[in-house]
Symmetry: D3
């Protein structure tokens, strides 16, 4: 390449490698693309990222399907170094697998692909933490099922950050973004009492869903409780209880858990919700727990975002979770 006559150019796809200190790494320079030829490397990954560009299963119209691509663009503005913790994520091997293929008009095909993708991840990268970037919340049912397909002997718990129960009935809606937790309970993938929801509040859930939650023993902490006790303690308590009951914990973050004033890109976020620094703290604590084994981030619609604020917050949620993950003693 010595003879290449364009010393004055930055060439694609290297647009972003300029103007920075040599030892600075941006997130997109750290996250690799999967090496499809080299099977040996597959088992060495510490984490794998999977995009799920599906939101036509959303009750109200959503462009959350565009979030995986928006995420990849937004993480270019983050370094791999967490200053609060003096910790660099870049020693983790992390790979971006790309996006689950979606069918335009047959949602069941989409859902099956998602389940298959998680199965493949658990099969081929068994050491790696799956990080799934949705998409709407319907994907969580399929991801946990896919996880369970591989780990059928393990009891799986769920730690959910959400304004909603997501316990609506599939008889009416099919497998939509309002139903995933109910689907998992009804299919006996997960037990009701192994689901911990943090962030519920206000006038955004039907009473019938609260009754269903109580019947199946689902655990939850409202924002009012959470604010009084402090998010750290609440998350710790949920993890402690789950720890006694389950083998693996799946973390699902519905970005609408955030307050409406801080998350324009989470279109059904509501007044009275969580603040950003609370959510970042919460997922870091979750990431630290040995039994936490997968996570997803859903219901983030980049079309409705303002100045990438919510997409960047979503990326930070992922990085804070990975910070916790790296803080575990391996």
């Amino acid at each position: 390449m010595k003879s290449y006559p364009y010393p004055m150019l930055n060439r694609p796809p290297f647009y972003y490698h300029t103007n920075r200190e040599l030892d600075e790494r941006k997130v997109h320079e750290w996250i690799e693309q999967v090496d499809v030829e080299n099977k040996e490397k597959w088992s060495a990954y510490d984490a794998v990222i999977l995009g799920v560009p599906l939101s036509r299963s959303s009750i109200s119209a959503s462009s959350a399907s565009e979030n995986p691509e928006a995420f990849r663009r937004a993480w270019k503005s983050f370094t791999t170094y967490n200053l609060d913790e003096d910790l660099d994520l870049s020693t983790l091997n992390i790979v971006d697998l790309g996006d689950v293929r979606e069918h335009v008009t047959d949602i069941s095909v989409c859902h099956e692909n998602i389940r298959e993708a998680m199965k493949a991840i658990r099969t081929h990268h068994s050491q790696a933490m799956p990080i799934v970037v949705g998409g709407d919340h319907s994907i969580t049912a399929m991801l946990v099922k896919g996880y369970k397909d591989v780990h059928h002997n393990e009891r799986i718990g769920i730690l959910q950050f959400d304004t909603h129960f997501d316990l609506r009935d599939t008889k009416e809606l099919g497998p939509a973004n309002g139903t995933p937790i109910r689907q998992l309970i009804e299919s006996q993938t997960v037990q009701g009492k192994d689901v911990y929801n943090i962030g519920l509040h206000g006038f955004f859930n039907a009473r019938s869903l609260k009754q269903y939650a109580d019947e199946v023993g689902l655990q939850y902490f409202t924002m009012k409780q959470t604010r009084k006790v402090g998010i750290e303690k609440i998350v710790q308590q949920a993890l402690n209880e789950l720890n006694k009951k389950v083998d693996k914990i799946y973390v699902t973050v519905d970005m609408d858990v955030l307050d409406i004033s801080v998350a324009p890109g989470a279109p059904v976020s509501t007044p009275g919700g969580m603040y950003i620094h609370e959510l970042l703290e919460a997922v870091q604590i979750a990431g630290q727990h040995q039994k936490v084994s997968a996570m997803d981030i859903v219901c983030l619609d980049p079309q409705k975002d303002v100045a990438q604020a919510t997409v960047k917050t979503g990326v930070h949620v992922m990085l804070s979770f990975l910070t916790g993950y790296k803080q575990r003693e391996f």
Copy 2:
């Protein structure tokens, strides 16, 4: 009601009846809601409006499903009187049937409901012009099929205003917003040569689709041709040719036929498209033709609109079409 003690109030749903001349009528005061009890009135309607809030069948994420509701809000700012033509639409009996019920996760149910709705319209309001407010372009296939179900002996032609052919293959996409015309041709609902597309241009269609169009004899006029000849003449020519071949003409307006600079609410509108006054003129001419028997307006996404500009333009398209309709000698 004499004794009602609130002479100082405007009561819902009468919010809009204030501050206007007595003989002024706004569109929402003219369009009635269907009288479900009184079957005799059903056959007296001159036109029926049907909302189709479906856009999860759209290739890219779309909120066109919110357009029927946006339409109903926007038409409150229009009078029934067309000043250019000195003609008042309010002598037409027109009814709003409401919206086709959609399933959240099973698009085939949605499509079947749409087809059934058009069948019911053609059965119960046989004198009425159906005006369908989409939704995305996938609905057109079902609407024409529903029409054909009732009028199975009639040859149906299509006058399409569109930047795209909408001839993509359902094998790949299923019945999406890129496929309706192909579906109609392949199902032999409509013959290729009976489809007239006005507004195609630029770099927005695959060559293969043009080749398919030529093979099936589909007729089209690019924007470049249209601009040179004049929209009036082009539409007249298309109607004249269709008149010789078919029994009924179905008009479908994809709002993305408009130039990208004038239609923010038509998210796949493109540079080089039609201007608003051209489209208004075109549909008025179409409305005048005796064989024109149904029309739809699709691919208008109110979430992406700016200051209701495109939604209002869509409403005007409907009213200009009805102007032409009223100008027929009944």
Copy 3:
């Protein structure tokens, strides 16, 4: 209606009754429209909602007049069930009276109508809590006067959440949105010492107004104080003091009390203001107090809002207040 041939349609005005559990109720399904024929029902209402679409009395240009309609649209996304409190509002009888009729160019006619409307409410629905959705803050003077017209022997106190005193001089402005509290004091409708303002702060009030406030004995807590002590205690203290002095407490919420970062739809909100969860808590506590007898929400401009965030917050303020109201021992 058995024979109605459109089983596949949702008909207006029932657009919103779909896709939900049978026992779920949305706010718009709970709030009734007034039954003008049936006088017996009038006295059975627990609460009445009155819209006041007036904002041409605002010092700076405002579209707060569009807020009542925006409120009604926004409350469709709220359920009647408050999860934090495990309490369902739907056992309250609540009616929407509609909007006060406004004159386009004679503001004194508007104001008189508002006063008459409150008088009619207090006369015909004497058991009901009036909830008034403004409009700008000028309406509060007329609402309290209308209240006093009926309850002329009662001493009325005011609990105000506001960034401003609203004590400006009507000699200069007439009865504008900067003057209502002064109007009430000068007309001896309310005593200065019976007004409690929470939320004042920063550089948004003239010193002369503070001096006037001190002269008339008006009580206030700045945001700085409020933040130190905690909103709960401050509101409780204000209510306790008022309880000793007055017969009835009127609550007025100027949405500009919120911080500029959380209330885009409150155009004169300012840096350093209240956060949403604080305001929700404050009004719930106020709603619980036996002497609180009316409330209004003002200065919310939907035209300036971003993604309905502030309108939804306003609706939540109303629902949190009603939560407190229902928590009283009747």
Copy 4:
């Protein structure tokens, strides 16, 4: 000033005098502020600009009151030199008188001030062309009346560019932005047949207003006619006819005459309206006519504008009109 130690500063109010050729003049450097001390200069002005920040008389909520200030900011980006015509406006003496003082809650005071302002202009700057920057259309009635107060023996005609007749009844609305032309006719300030309206179209006027227009002999050209014949010829014809009948012509430009796609800052602009280059041409022709003696620009709401597009268009309307004015043989 030699000793002033800040050679490196641009001082207010001279912020804009930098980075330009010495012989370039921006509009704000050309338009002077009135010299209140020096009465001799008053009669030497060729044109005077008057701001009228009134829009609380608008039927729908409007911030057109902010337009005079927005205008003054926007004209800083225009030079005084018209390249199309190779003509420099800067040889005209032009003065900015400032804004009419408005009352916050008494619209009749506002209107009286406007009338007085025009009377003062006609009295003290009798050689100057008044250019009035609104504000909503209600101001036109007062401006023409003020003009007539001074020129009571002269017959005044009106050349109006507007989507609406503005002939609504003051009995219902008072003197609002929908009524000015009717007010002028009913007060016999102007005869119906001396009003020429260009730009009416579509579904934006009640039939009753058209009937009223016909009864009083008002002249108008719809956009459809205008587009067929060409704006130049239509304007010329209107001026020719007015020339035979009246002594003075008042030009009023309601910015909502523009198409909805080109005028985001004219909130009631509509589909099917005029394009910008047509309006610019129209007002230049009007400016050239010897009898044209005043003009106003109304109903421009900077709060709804996008990137100053409509405000800049409004400024260009003023400058194109002045171009025509300067092209007269004095």
Copy 5:
């Protein structure tokens, strides 16, 4: 790759290869990235694309530096097939060289790199048409100089589409976006009479610049002239005249030539400018001319764009130019 276990995934960078007919090609699938190892291929390119992310040389703050990246994202929504002309661009070999490296605080380094990049292009891809995506207009001076460095014996003419002369003085501004044409004339790179500017109009140029233009014999057509004669004829005339005088023609498109109502992303676009279909036609004609040998597109600021409208228009300008280029008889 058979064994790769993710048949259900679309992998980066292949996100965009889904859901399309096999013979459909999107622009990003056609434009290759340069093969730095394989020098033989370098001379086979028909066209090369160069990004120039420089806009800190802009008089007013600009983010035009982000345009090359925005272009690359936007062209993914274009096919290679031009339907109006039944012509497929994909038979052209075209390569994306990437972006010129810019210095953050030393603009002269940026400019030198730009000049060097054009020199390298003309040296190593002598058969290829350079297409340069700016950046602000200051880059044109360096690009033409770089071109001239290699072709020093050739007389170069310029065909400019612009609202401005760009003839301001570098003594005051340095080499900014207002000065490039003057720089080229003063450095004798280009003769004044060999510059043809189409699109000048209104109040956006100082008289002194017009005088300078006349002194150096610069040719121009205002928008008023252009609209009367028709853009086709004007462009043809300019090319004919240039053809007689020069060896090579450089085409520069300043996007602010477009009307303010159609180009939100061209921040100094103005009222009275060119419409999109006119510009597309103009550049296609230019592309057809044998002597046209390079082109650039400048002053497009994606940060100010609305829904990618202007960026997409810019991409279409490039594709329309290449359409003309391919229509030449090679």
Copy 6:
């Protein structure tokens, strides 16, 4: 002026003097423009404001250069009276010097002018607190150098509120907005250990910068620490430590220290940042300290702001700082 015939007008530049109590003062009525003729007054100023409209030295494209003008417009909505503290700023003599003249293409000229401006301020208004309104953060290096030029014997410390270290290397970037603190350290204007940064957090700084910071002994508190301890205590601690070491403290506020959800106009603000009320409290405390001798506010881009929220917050930062300043015992 008695005879001036326009009693009904507000004249420019007096637009804002209306509709207010006589003893109310808005900030723009308090801040004077410098009296260039009257040198005696120069030394009587308590504070001077300097605008620095430079942002072409910003790494990513920025319009922070427009902030000084935006500031001046925004402060018209603030009174001089701080209600929280019952303190009126208007007894301070404060003058607006205007803006530093900037060169369009030579950033070193801009920087030199900035340094000279601070030198002149310290020379001619030695009693005055300099308040500098940027502009991007590159200006801080020049301002502190200019300060040091005059006070060369004094040890200067820096109190920085920032999400970033701003310690990047000028070898790569030149003197950009990422480098000022490093420039000051390397030029020995300031010692590393005399820099206190509050607000650092998350993934927004390269590890190498943290290492550099540690090497030079720079002091910092992350947001996580700050939130735990409380902003008041952290600021107090930083001031206490600085007090022991230095003679003068320069305060620099990079608005990106604010959380991304509260500062749309600070384009590189990030998730997890400071809240507005915390920053206001912090700068007030800083203003109270006797050794604090200058402050700047940087990286505020009004083009990206939403409804002036961040610009108004910036103005409040200035006023809160001045509140502290006035609270000192003089």
